[in-house]
Structures are given as C-alpha cells and as structure tokens.
C-alpha cells in the first residue's frame, strides 16, 4: 500500500528555530533511512532531523494539484538507490523568526501550521464539464456581464460579433472554450487591438519595409526578429514585458518573463540557440512619497526588486545563457505596475531562419512541462487594467517557472532543427494551446486547419476543464510540428533529453480550428470526424472579424513650459550637485545584483553587464563573440529613462533611439549593421496616452527610416494603468518605450573600449548637447523634471550618426561611452572608478544636463587639434583631462571628495534593496 514517508533535513549550525527541508516521498515500502540520509544530506553541514521541534511553524509545499518540479529528479535519484518513489514533494518548514515574510502562493501552494496528514502526493480531482452559452439570446448588458464574470476583457462590440459568429456558424450554443479562445485571440496581447485600431503596427512595419536593409531576415512576423550575421548565420532577438505577473508575484513573474522570451528564441524559424539575456526592471518608489497611499495595495518596491534579482539569477543561471545587460530603475509611476522587461538574443542558420509551412498530416507535438492551472488569462489581462483583485481565483495569471525543463529544451531544439524533423515550431506563452497551436494551425496549407485533442494533453493538475487546458500558460512547453516520417527520430531526441513529448494534434488543412476532448481518439488523422466533446470548431476566418475599438485620440492641452535650469554658477557647489546624481537609484552601484547573474557562461562574452577594475560599472554596450573561433561580434545596447518620459514622452522616445544607436556607433558598429526593438508601455487610463503613443510611434518610425536602422521586433503593452479601491485610485505609468539595439561587427578588435586608456589624454563631448536639466535624474530630485526635452532633430540624425561612425573608425578615439543618465558628471565618476585614474574637468554647470544621443570620447593631446578641426560638425567641446591620480575628481582644479561621492554611489542599492 502506498504511503507518504517524510524525511526532514536541517542545517547543523542552526538552532531549533530554523528552516527544515522535508522530503515527502510516496512509496509502497518504507525507505532505507540511511540511504535517504546519504542522498538528501550534505553530511558535514546537514543532518537528518529525528523528531521535529515543538512550537509554532509554517510548512509550505505545492498542493496536490501541482507536481513539484523536483519530483522527477527525486524519483531518478531514489531509483538509482533501489527505492521506488511514485510521487514526491519538497516542503519547507519554518520555525520562530524564520516564519516572518514567508510567501505562500495560494494558487499552487498550501501552508500547514499543524502536522500535515498526507494521504497521497498525486493530483486528484474530477474534471469539470464544459459550460454552454447561447450568446444570441443575451442582451447587451448580459453579454457584458458574461465578459466580466469570466474575465474575458471583451468589449460589447466584440461580444456582439461573437453572437453573430454563433448565428453564422449555426451553432445552437457556444462553449466556454469558444469564448475563451476568442477572448485570447482578440486580446491586446495576441491581436494588438489597440495598435491595429490606431494604425501603429502598420506604421512601424512599413518603416522597416521602406528601409530595405540588406541584413533583414525577418521582422514582426515570427516569434523574434532575424538579422543576417556572418557565415550563413542569423542573429535573432526579442524582448517582452511581463508586467502584471511580476507586480503581483515577482519571483514567478520574473522567472517566467525570462523563460518566455527565451522560448521566443527557441521558437524562431525552425529553432535558434539563445546566446544572451537582457534584463530591465523599473520598480516604484522605495518610500512612497508621490503616491503615499499605495503602500496599502502593492508589494513594497524592495520586495519586487529583491524577488526580481532572485528570479533572474535562479532562472537565467540555470538556463546557461549569459546576462548581457542588466539594470534596475525606480520611478513613482511604476509603483502600481512594474515595468518588467526581458530579452534574449540567439543564433540560428539562414536555412532555419524561416518557418516552414505545415502540411496536412503533420503532427503537433507538445513537448516539455505538463499543463496545469498555473497561469490563466495572461493574454486577456493584457487588455485590461490591473486591480488589487486581479490575482484572485481562476483568473490568476501567476506562473511557475522550471528552468530545468526549459534548459533541456534548448538542447533538444537545436538537435531537432539540425536533424530536419520539424516543419515549424512555436512556444507556449499567453493563451497556451490556443495561441501556440492555433497560430501554427493557421499556416497549414492554403486555408489553415488543425485538430487538437485536449484529452491527450499531459496534465499536472487534476480536474482541469477543457478551457483551462486550452488556455493554460504553464511554462516550459513548446509545440513542434513534426513531419510524420520523422516522428520516431524526433521522439528519440525528446526521450534522450528526458522531455515528455506527446502528439496532441494534427494538421488538417480544412480551414478550421478544432478542439475536442476524446480520450479514445489517440490516433489522429487529418480527415477524422470530430468525436467526444467538441470544444471548438470554427473557421479560421472568424478570427479576422475582431471589431477594433474606436479610440479617441485626445491631444493634451498646452501647459506652461517648465524648465529645470542648470543654474550652477561656480565649482564650489559641484560636489553638492553631484551627490544626488551618483546616489540616485538609477545610477548607483548595482553590481550586488548584477554579479548574481552568470555573465560568462557559454564562453562567448567579451564585454558583459559590468566592467572596470572593480567590476562594478554598468556597461552600456554588451559584446558577444557567438562563434568560438571567429572574431565576429554581436553587440547589444538598451536605452530607457523614466525621467525623460516624465518630461516629454515624444522627444524622450527619439532620445532613447538615438542613445541606443549612438552607443553602438561610437563603439565602432556601422549604422547599417544595427537593428532595433521597441517595447512600449502605455497607460490605458490616461486620456492622453493614445496621443502620446501615436506621436511616439511616428517619431521613432521616421527616425529609423532616417538612420536606416529598422525595427525588427517589438511588443506593445497598453495595460500600464493600475486601479485601486474600486477604481477610485489610479496610477498610470508614463507613456514610454524602451529601445534596444542589436548590431554586428566583423571583427571585435575594431570595437573601441569604454574604459579610459591613458593619463594625459583629453575628454571631449560630441553630439547634441543639452543645456537644461529637463528629464534628468538631478531634476527628479528637485521635483521639476521640466515639460520639454532637448535632443536631435530627426532630419539631422542621419548626418550626425554617419559622422560619428566616421569618427569611431578614425583611430583618433581611444575610448568612448554614450552620455545619457547622470550626464557628463556620472560618466566622469564612472570613468574614474573603472580605470583607477582621475580627471580634471574644465566644465562646471555643463556637467549635469543629460545629453541623450551624445558621447564622451577620449582623444590624445597630440591629436586633439586635428580631431577638433576634422570633426567640428560634431560640435566637440572639451570636458577635461585624464590624470594619473587614482580616485581623483577635480572640477576646474578644485578637488571633490571622492570618498563622499563613492560612498553615496556605493550604498544606495544596499540600503534600498539588499538591507
């Protein structure tokens, strides 16, 4: 008879009131306790607990509906010791002070405060039947009640269109699967309804088409953008936000953010190998000042920051993908909903860079993690506003990550691709099967058509309804469209990597998206009659009937033009001005977080997220050598500052593009070798948001055309508003866009370093120079970020960038960095800290404005005159001289207190996040 046996492990140096790890094993025979001790204990530091201590405790474990991610490994390990385990769960029991702050995700976990009685560890429960609705019989009010009660986030016109589809298809009733499928397919996440309605998607895509860059392989049509690299290789990149989940359950949300975007790379073309990750998170204020009431409704920014670091480290490191760039920012408007952005770059071959067209009879194979109720309605939530109730009940969109499974999929994907087993591949993200398999099914033959048998989907939770199986966003799953004759070979590869793989669907080519639940229909054929429960049977053409919302674009009223002047008059005050710059959260030493991310795995990183003698300065440019024995370089830069968007959302968008491109160009990357990604974050409850959005998209599209650097991937999130207290309290994120640039260079040795090279050399600024403090971190401290921004005009951008490229290749520049957040002052501070040298600046007030799109270059004194004459068009002006004195920051010969500045810079992150 099966029984659950428990073995508790404690750390030998902990007192009784500590944390205990308990292995719960379901077995037929009692385990060999000695063997268990050898397995679960590191004997020098851990011991098996004989009798748990008395006293109050909390014990947290996955509830029976969810399979513990460690179960598989425990079964393997116990099996090798002759112990047959049928199910396993690992729980953690906390006594005394350690109970404080224990987080319990009630959707998937259970917390015991008394000795648990565990009958079984296996999922139990009865499957729920389908619900049926006659939409044609419902009034407008009833249709909206239905939409709201199911969290469909469908508008009345959309609900009415569904009723019309029911009539047209002559369906007496529609199923819950029907409703949920359309809600997902017509969500902002999947259908980009807002962007389509505003014509923005087309605008950006048309700009890319107009540029006709020869390096373009794929833009806006696959899971990621493709950019021709060298030797028949294609560089791939994609960035995606995961804001709602990361706000509500930061660890799970951030883990699955990264897992999701990595799968986008795996699912590009016929599969690509991820070679680098990018991380950016913007949290709210650490002490709520602007929105003092917010503390009652949201997790503290410190918690979100800490959980973010823990999640990205845990997931990214296990994946074996190096961190390219990582940064964390803070702004009050992101306190209601964090900006959680993750990105991945990858490499594939030209031959595998385009998806194939699935043919009738091709098999849809679901691979990886099992399907559960973790993560539902992620797509539809993207259409709505987050509230304090967003994570309750079935509508929860919290997901559980398991990097172990996804890491195995990386290896398998590349092997499958190279074995020619797959016709197409797609990742499971928002909307689960509906999205991943539905999209692939759409491309079958001339008409599309796929049949999915939901009964064949392996489940990790008992009692899932059809709609939950269809919509589940359980992580670490991929769909491979396998050529029938190659199925055995593909299954052998999955088996080799110990990945569960199941044929759950077949390409029919009949033009319909069909889902059934029939446990008896294990052999699928393209022409079989539908059997069992018919969950969905509609023509693909119905999905094109989404009524787009009518969006009123309201121009904001003219307001008084506010300016934050840099009215610093002499060098006596520079140190006082500089202190708030270096201690600002956005600028401070974040290496305590960044060093937790493996930046060297794969052995391809030339310059990672940090540099300098103390390895603590955040890089602006990451450089990879993706091919071991070649000098080819893949370069990545990213630009985002909430303070710029607070001042002037439209010019800020231009400045972000300029900064991302200038970072590449001043290092030596040719403008035509750079491509871009946009990640918009728009507050739907801000009445002027759509006006800003339209202006932003047009501005960056025009700029990309001018520069010849196309956008090849992007994502729009229009759910940047959070409502609290019954929508009485609303926080809108700033209308903003993060710009990421990916470039290539045929020889990394041509790239300029960012670290100062030689004492005696001179420092110059080139490019558009700001004169005010508008949109700067310093202005943020004063509470007046201004209402306008300086920056380059789009019409001048091309000439500037070309001249800058010429300068980078001239041999005159010894080192170069972009000037962005913190202005010249912060660049000089970082230069000193990175190089171990000093600087004497001739500038004073001009140190502080943030000139986004400008650069700081190091020139030898001997060549300075020639540089100024030859590159006068770049408006160079001298900043100062590098001096051979460590930790010395002089402004007009007056020495600033380095220790004071350094301490301010070095302690902020520790205080706000780590303490």
């Amino acid at each position: 008879m099966m029984r659950v046996y428990r073995a508790a492990i404690h750390n030998k140096d902990q007192g009784a009131e500590g944390v205990y790890t308990i292995y719960n094993l379901e077995m037929e025979r009692p385990p060999d306790r000695e063997a268990l001790a050898g397995l679960f204990c590191n004997p020098l530091v851990e011991g098996v607990t004989e009798g748990m201590p008395e006293g109050e405790f909390v014990e947290v474990m996955y509830h029976n509906g969810v399979i513990d991610p460690q179960q598989e490994s425990i079964i393997v390990a116990c099996g090798s010791l002759g112990m047959e385990v049928t199910a396993a769960k690992v729980s953690r029991r906390y006594y005394g002070q350690t109970r404080n702050g224990v987080f319990v995700n009630k959707l998937v976990q259970v917390a015991f405060t008394e000795e648990p009685i565990l009958g079984t560890l296996r999922p139990r429960g009865a499957r729920k039947g389908m619900e049926l609705f006659d939409l044609t019989a419902l009034s407008g009010q009833e249709l909206m009640q239905l939409s709201e009660s199911r969290d469909l986030h469908l508008s009345l016109p959309q609900m009415r269109e569904l009723a019309q589809i029911q009539r047209d298809e002559r369906l007496p009733q529609v199923t819950d699967v029907f409703l949920e499928t359309f809600a997902a397919r017509w969500s902002d996440h999947c259908y980009h309804t807002t962007w389509r309605a505003l014509g923005l998607f087309k605008l950006l895509k048309d700009a890319t088409t107009r540029i006709a860059n020869q390096s373009l392989v794929s833009a806006f049509k696959d899971n990621a953008g493709g950019w021709r690299f060298y030797d028949g290789l294609v560089a791939v990149f994609k960035l995606e936000t995961h804001c709602s989940p990361s706000q509500k359950e930061p660890f799970g949300g951030q883990e699955t953010k990264l897992g999701g975007v990595i799968r986008d790379i795996l699912g590009y073309g016929l599969g690509a190998l991820p070679v680098g990750n990018i991380e950016l998170t913007v949290v709210g204020e650490f002490i709520h000042k602007k929105f003092s009431w917010l503390a009652d409704y949201v997790l503290p920014a410190k918690t979100i920051a800490r959980e973010t670091i823990r999640a990205i480290s845990s997931y990214g490191n296990r994946m074996g993908i190096p961190m390219l760039l990582a940064r964390m920012l803070s702004h009050p408007n992101f306190g209601g909903k964090t900006f959680a952005l993750g990105g991945t770059v990858g490499i594939t071959t030209e031959a595998a860079a385009q998806k194939g067209v699935p043919e009738v009879g091709d098999l849809f194979v679901l691979v990886g993690g099992r399907t559960g109720n973790d993560g539902l309605h992620g797509a539809t939530v993207s259409s709505g506003t987050m509230t304090e109730h967003t994570d309750t009940g079935d509508s929860c969109h919290v997901q559980i990550g398991n990097a172990f499974t996804e890491q195995k999929m990386v290896q398998a994907t590349v092997e499958l691709r190279d074995a020619g087993c797959v016709r197409a591949v797609n990742d499971f993200g928002a909307a689960g099967i509906v999205s991943a398999m539905g999209e692939l099914g759409e491309s079958v033959g001339a008409w599309g058509g796929v049949l999915i048998n939901l009964a064949l989907v392996p489940l990790k939770c008992a009692g899932l309804a059809n709609w939950q199986i269809a919509l589940s966003e359980s992580q670490e799953r991929m769909c491979y469209v396998v050529i029938p004759g190659k199925l055995a070979e593909a299954m052998a590869i999955f088996d080799r990597y110990q990945l569960e793989a199941t044929v759950v669907g077949i390409a029919t080519g009949n033009g319909r998206f069909q889902m059934i639940h029939d446990p008896a229909a294990t052999k699928l054929s393209a022409t079989m009659a539908l059997s069992g429960e018919i969950a969905l049977d509609v023509p693909y053409s119905c999905f094109d009937r989404c009524p787009l919302p009518e969006i009123e674009v309201i121009e904001p009223p003219e307001t008084e033009r506010r300016t934050c002047d840099a009215d610093l008059v002499n060098n006596n005050d520079v140190e006082e001005w500089g202190l708030p710059v270096v201690r600002h959260f956005d600028a401070c030493n974040q290496s305590r977080a960044t060093t937790q991310y493996d930046s060297t795995v794969q052995g391809k990183m030339l310059q990672g997220p940090l540099y300098g003698r103390n390895y603590n300065i955040l890089s602006s440019l990451a450089v990879l050598k993706p091919v071991y024995d070649k000098a080819y370089g893949l370069t990545v830069s990213q630009s985002f500052s909430p303070w710029q968007f607070e001042a002037d959302p439209v010019q800020a968008a231009i400045n972000m593009v300029m900064d991302a491109v200038v970072t590449q160009v001043i290092s030596g990357v040719a403008p035509e070798d750079i491509c871009l990604a946009d990640n918009f974050y728009t507050p739907s409850k801000d009445q002027y948001a759509w006006w800003y959005l339209c202006k932003q998209v047009r501005a960056i599209a025009d700029l990309s055309v001018e520069l010849g650097t196309p956008f090849i991937t992007g994502k729009d999130s229009s759910s940047g508003s959070s409502a609290f207290d019954g929508s009485k309290l609303i926080i809108n994120v700033l209308p903003s866009v993060c710009i990421t640039a990916m470039g290539k260079i045929d020889d990394v040795n041509k790239l300029l370093p960012c670290q100062w090279q030689q004492p005696g050399n001179l420092l110059y600024v080139v490019g558009p120079q700001a004169l005010t403090l508008n949109g700067s971190m310093l202005s943020a401290q004063s509470g007046n970020t201004g209402s306008w921004l300086e920056g380059i005009r789009v019409s001048q951008a091309k000439m500037y960038i070309q001249k800058l490229h010429e300068l980078a290749g001239s041999g005159l520049v010894k080192s170069a960095v972009p000037i962005n957040r913190g202005g010249i002052f912060l660049r000089l501070f970082e230069g000193i800290e990175a190089s171990g040298l000093g600087v004497n600046s001739v500038l004073c007030a001009a140190l502080f404005p943030e000139s986004w799109g400008a650069a700081l270059v190091e020139i030898s004194e001997a060549e300075a005159r020639h540089f100024v004459e030859a590159y006068g068009g770049l408006a160079p002006f001298r900043v100062g001289r590098i001096i051979d004195q460590a930790d010395t920051f002089e402004v007009q010969d007056r020495k600033l207190c380095w220790n004071r500045l350094y301490t301010a810079w070095n302690t902020t992150f520790q205080r706000e996040v780590m303490a």
Binding site: N42, F404, R496, T600, V601
Partner: protein, 221 residues
C-alpha cells in the same frame, strides 16, 4: 594523435559546449557523453584519455548541487581512478565529484558566505602540488571567472586524500580560500571557477594544456 576527452553531461548541464571548445583549442579531440549512455553501458567512462565533468546545473540542482548526478555516477568513478585517467571537474562538475566522494569525506562544498550566486572575474594562485593539471605553473596567478552560488570549501584543513591545488588571490567569491582540490596522485582536479571562459582565455588554457600534455607524454613514454 590527439588525446581523447570524454565530456560527461547530465540533464541540466549547461557548460558542456564551452568545455568542448576549450579542450579542442588546447589540442584535444572530444566526445560528449550523456549520462544515460553511461548508465546503459553504451559508453564506458574509461573510453578516453581524459574525463571531464563540466559546469552547469545538473538535474536543476534539485535536492542539492550535484547530488543526483553524483548518485548516478558514483559507482563509475573507481574505474577512472583504477585506470589513472586524468579527470577535471569544473564548478558543478567539481560539486558532483565532491558529492561522489572523490575528495574524501572530511571536506565539502557549501553555500557562498554571501548566500547568493557570484559571477565576476577572479584571480587564482596555483599551489605547489602533484597535480598534473597545474604542474609547472606553481605560484602563478591565473585569471578566469567564477560563476557559482555554492563553492565554499569547508572541513578539515588537511583532508586525508585531497590536496588544495589553487587558492583565491584577492577577492574570494564564496568566502573561502581554497579554489580547487587535487586527488588521486594529482590526476583529478576539481575547481569551482571556469578556466574555459571566455573562449581562448590564455590563463585558463594553461590548465587544459597541462592535462593534455600529461597524457600525451604518457602515451609517448
């Protein structure tokens, strides 16, 4: 004839390709061996001149770092020792060998003092030992990155059957001083940090080359 290196990998291992590249750059030919092939008997652990356990997160670090992998290969390790096959364990590979009992039972690896993962450049001073992987570069400081969360060596100062082979010079990512151990008359080296990174790192190549030179010389002699 180039020496033949078996690079063992497990579900979750993620450093096998960079290790292949490093060994090949150093002059070896390599073969990736998946643990299942070993367990099924399709491949023998001794079918090579050198055996390497690369870094990564074998079995997702479930139960503990290297625990599941060590459980699976523990019975195969004596064959390596018996046949005097030079063996290198890097990071998780070191943890696997440690849990498999290669470096005796009075030392172990535990969590970094910081409690978190650490990835950054690190310097290592090579100690005088009989290790074939570091012979001839005693007292030299080699730089290659660390990337681990559980790399602190604790236990007795002088373990019975293992000898410290390299120590941290300056910053220690885990709070300990020892960065690697050698055992089995210097044939086995386990180290927490990554000499294979970045590709072509001349400091790290010193270690790979010495292991290869040892077996090349042995073949010739």
């Amino acid at each position: 004839m180039k020496p033949f290196v078996n690079i063992m990998y497990f579900p979750g291992t993620n450093c096998e390709q960079e290790t292949v590249a490093a060994f090949e750059l150093a002059g070896a030919q390599t073969q990736l061996v998946f643990v299942n092939d070993l367990l099924s008997g399709r491949t023998k652990i001794t079918d090579c001149d050198i055996c390497c356990f690369p870094g990564g997160f074998s079995f997702g670090d479930h139960i503990g770092t290297g625990v599941v992998a060590a459980t699976l290969i523990r019975d195969h390790i004596p064959q390596l020792v018996e046949k005097n096959i030079p063996t290198l364990g890097i990071c998780n590979g070191f943890q696997i060998l440690m849990r498999a009992g290669v470096f005796c039972s009075d030392v172990t690896l535990t969590d970094n003092d910081s409690g978190v993962f650490c990835s950054r450049p690190v310097h290592h001073r090579i100690l005088a030992s009989d290790c074939v992987w570091t012979r001839g570069i005693e007292d030299v400081v080699l730089s290659f990155p660390c990337a681990h969360g559980g790399g602190k060596v604790i236990g007795v100062d002088r373990p019975a059957s293992a000898t410290p082979a390299l120590v941290y010079e300056g910053f220690s990512p885990n709070g300990g001083t020892i960065a690697g151990f050698t055992a089995n008359d210097g044939l086995i080296l386990g180290l927490m940090d990554h000499p294979e990174r970045p590709y072509g790192n001349s400091d790290g190549q010193e270690i790979f080359r010495r292991g290869i030179q040892h077996v090349t010389w042995r073949c010739v002699s």
